[in-house]
Symmetry: C2
Subunit: 344 residues, 2 copies
DNA sequence: GTGAAAGCGCTAACAC
DNA sequence: GTGTTAGCGCTTTCAC
């Protein structure tokens, strides 16, 4: 009737008291040595007996009881709106988990899958577990209105932000757009198309702003014919081929890797080669796409792992009073083979 | 210095005792009404005052304290070897999280990223938090040797298994291979190639066995020329085009969606159309690939979400004595547009 | 050096 | 109906 088949049957966990009895000392002595308290003066004999008893009994301190005494737990709550929807959320979890872990904290994860009611319940549950703080994260970068419950504990927004709300950690969309365009410009391209998404978002605005900035700094005049919009999926990129070709662009910045993939397909169907005929740059660095297209897609990485890490840091270290209300994390360029260097 | 900028400053949480004082009753009375105990006979007046006090003070029960009293927590530990590596792990987390949640349990996640040492530490930490049990999951289906610590609590293996080890929940690879081949057979194909992976694994063995079974039940003789092996990535599929074409196959079962994607690319480069010239079936149902190839890729889904759910169920409900040591979860076929119905 | 005892927030007898 | 009290496993003064 128990799930584990092999091995010794599990019994009630060994307690401090039992260890004390076994070692013939008091509980406080055991507590002292178990926690390796520096300035605890314990006799060598006693210490040895305690250590032996701990070992023999297989004692595991009860973290719950410890937490109770200290009035606070070593938990960090992570509420996400869609760990399912995307490989991205996993990376945030991963980063947060690594950083929390390295500081002796455990991640308590709660997934609301976007349901506000589930979200409130999740937060309540986290609060009841006396989490040290909560990371509220979204799977794509956007503005949110943070659930009320969050005000009861320290909160950091991850991959989202709220005006006048908690401190936020977000990707640097502008810098990313800049980096993307620069890859093309650095390779000698001057006619660079930009396929943006149709849905309003910090990504849409920011990446375009970055692109414009890159053109400006290179002294390339902007041409409206080069800026287009399409559904931010493979289909969207595919649907843009005609306009891209017509625009005479030699390089294209895509809103994301999926759009780039669609563009690849469309370009290839027209007999155009990448990067020989058209250079393409993506955004997101979605491994499964970018690394495996032929040629590999040069793109800009969304720093999800780093967002998770930075979120935990902000939570644990606090943010200096007077600091900005937002920390932007760099989106680094990733070069693969989809950009051809052209020599004028 | 605190992360949350707006709102009322956070203070020491309100306790039962404070509520009791406020309501002018004893702690037990508060406990009774707070927990909505059915057969607790509480005066209407008292109940009302308590409820009011709880509300006014914003009381949140301390789950840690409750757990301490009950001697057990409502935590389930999930240790995974690679939440980062793949979108898949996220789905297992999601499924486990949903099921745990619906039963009032919280998921404590620990990611070892394959590092055995980190794994042991993670398990120790989970154990110290007195988790109700542990789900030990891997990102691809394989045999494992479960870390020693697991024997101290109930354990369920998810997406992996160990001979004589804990109960395991795994995908039905054979059934999946069967389903994949059947899609082609049902569409009238008789010459069906199978691009397997080169790496030994339950997936390699099982899917091939399923394919063979499907051929057998359809009375189609097996042709060794139709069975090939390739790296289980886009590159592998791409590299197989020649052999596939040479084999005269009208349909191809790929070891996974990535291989199928590579095959798509290679086929298209040779001017062959899918599904008109060649029908293709994948495996995994990796949304980001399968749903967005042109045409959409018919494939077989790896039931990661369900594995997570089933893992939690097995943990919480226990497995009936005498049951098999393993539960296989169905891999359902997902039809898109990559299979052409041929009429003989 | 080591032990006794109080108390963390809560539940569950058991009184009254 | 409601209050008192004894723990749950642990840390931490404070005696000795």
């Amino acid at each position: 009737m128990t799930a584990m088949s092999g091995s010794e049957g599990r019994r009630r966990p060994v307690t401090l008291k039992e260890v004390a009895a076994r070692a013939g000392v008091s509980v406080s002595t055991v507590s002292l040595v178990a926690n390796g308290k520096k300035n605890a003066r314990i006799g060598d004999a006693a210490r040895a007996r305690v250590l032996a008893a701990i070992d023999e009994l297989g004692y595991r301190p009860n973290a719950l009881a410890k937490n109770l005494v200290h009035g606070e737990s070593r938990f960090i709550g992570l509420v996400t709106d869609g760990i399912a929807s995307t490989p991205f959320a996993g990376q945030v979890v991963h980063g947060a988990q690594d950083e929390a872990w390295s500081r002796g904290y455990m991640l308590l994860i709660a997934n609301s899958e976007g349901n506000p009611e589930a979200e409130e319940r999740a937060i309540a549950m986290l609060l009841e577990h006396k989490v040290h703080g909560i990371l509220y994260s979204t799977w794509y970068h956007r503005e949110v209105v943070p659930p009320a419950g969050l005000s009861e504990t320290d909160t950091v927004l991850v991959n989202c932000f709220a005006d006048g709300g908690p401190f936020a950690v977000v990707p640097d969309e502008v810098g990313g757009g800049l980096a993307a365009a620069r890859m093309l410009i650095a390779a000698g391209h001057r006619r660079i198309a930009f396929i943006n998404t149709t849905t309003e978002s910090p990504a849409k605005q920011g990446r375009l702003a970055g692109y414009r900035h890159a053109l400006a700094e290179a002294g390339i005049p902007e041409d409206p014919a080069l800026i287009m919009e399409a559904e931010s999926a493979q289909e969207g990129g595919y649907a843009c081929v005609e306009r891209v070709v017509a625009s005479g662009a030699t390089g294209v910045c895509c809103h994301n890797d999926r759009v780039a993939q669609g563009l690849y397909d469309g370009l290839k169907e027209r007999g155009l080669r990448i990067p020989d005929d058209v250079s393409v740059v993506g955004f997101d660095n979605q491994e499964i796409i970018a690394a495996h297209l032929r040629p590999g897609l040069s793109t800009v990485a969304l720093p999800h792992y780093e967002l998770g890490v930075a979120g935990v840091r902000a939570l644990l270290d606090g943010v200096p009073a007077g600091a900005a209300d937002r920390l932007t994390i760099e989106c680094p360029p990733v070069e693969r083979g989809s950009v051809l260097t052209v020599t004028a």
